[in-house]
Symmetry: C2
Subunit: 175 residues, 2 copies
């Protein structure tokens, strides 16, 4: 089944979260999501940097900001997305992933800060990528990697202006 | 085979990298590494925060800072660690991982900034977790997840003061 994945990132403060949110965006793109919606203060620098990567490295990926978690969740539900909230408090990934894979449209929710308890209630799946505190960036990457069974790691992105030529001990880029 | 994993993080500037380096440390711990060495400006806040997590959530994990990449690499080589440098320029993970798994002692190198080309030369493996720009936090998590074949996600950490009770739609902690 070909999944359509949107990432919903809850919380962004430009000063504090610039780098972590950028990592979330790039991971979403590299691991197979088509879009990220960030709930938080609009940050033109992140938009520019993510669009810059897309232009150079290819593929389709869009980024937008929103002011309301609930509004976005309602919209996603209306569009028939199943909501998967990644949280260390959730049920185990290994157990949940076969059920999740049955949904073609998936919205993956990751928090930057404390996620409101309403999100736990509204989510179709609360899933833990390990029951330990670590990183929403890591959780998102491992979740998408598992969702796509590792097959997307070496995806080719359409329209790339540059790409890597894998090398044993050096760096090589093809233009 | 039981692997012994150390993470070597190259580059840390407290102002800019505080959150990203903290994520690296927590991912290293949660995904099965025993230690992280950070080459960069010593940052007591990170040490305190990582030690705080360890005390509360259990397990053995140590953190230290160093001033020299080369010194650390030499030390690790002397101690018979195979050096795995995660970089989008490297060879594909899927192809390299069976060879990497044969080494009991592994030092996984991740960069915060541009990694000196000497590191590419000194590494036993330069490996890409996808040939796209994304995040060293994500690369580290997916690499360790693959190394341990997903088995460490639900590891129990010895001596934990608290632990999560997985829940479908809420949060539960056992003390």
């Amino acid at each position: 089944m070909k999944h359509e994945v949107i990432v919903l990132r809850i919380g962004h403060r430009p000063e504090r979260d610039k780098r972590v949110t950028t990592h979330c965006c790039l991971v979403a793109r590299a691991f197979g999501a088509k879009r990220i919606i960030i709930v938080g203060e609009k940050d033109e620098k992140i938009i520019k940097s993510v669009q810059g990567v897309r232009k150079k490295w290819g593929g389709r990926f869009s980024i937008s900001f929103s002011e309301s978690v609930k509004k976005e969740i309602k919209k996603l539900k209306k569009q028939k997305f199943a909501l998967v909230h990644l949280t260390m408090y959730g049920l185990k990934l290994k157990k949940e992933i076969p059920k999740i894979r049955k949904h073609k449209k998936l919205a993956v929710i990751v928090g930057a800060e404390k996620v409101p308890i309403e999100v736990y209630k509204m989510a179709d799946f609360n899933v833990s990528v390990g029951g330990q505190p670590h990183s929403e960036i890591a959780a998102l990457a491992v979740f998408l990697h598992e969702l796509f069974k590792g097959k997307l790691l070496d995806t080719k992105f359409a329209g790339a202006k540059i790409k890597i030529v894998p090398e044993k001990n050096s760096k090589k880029i093809a233009h």
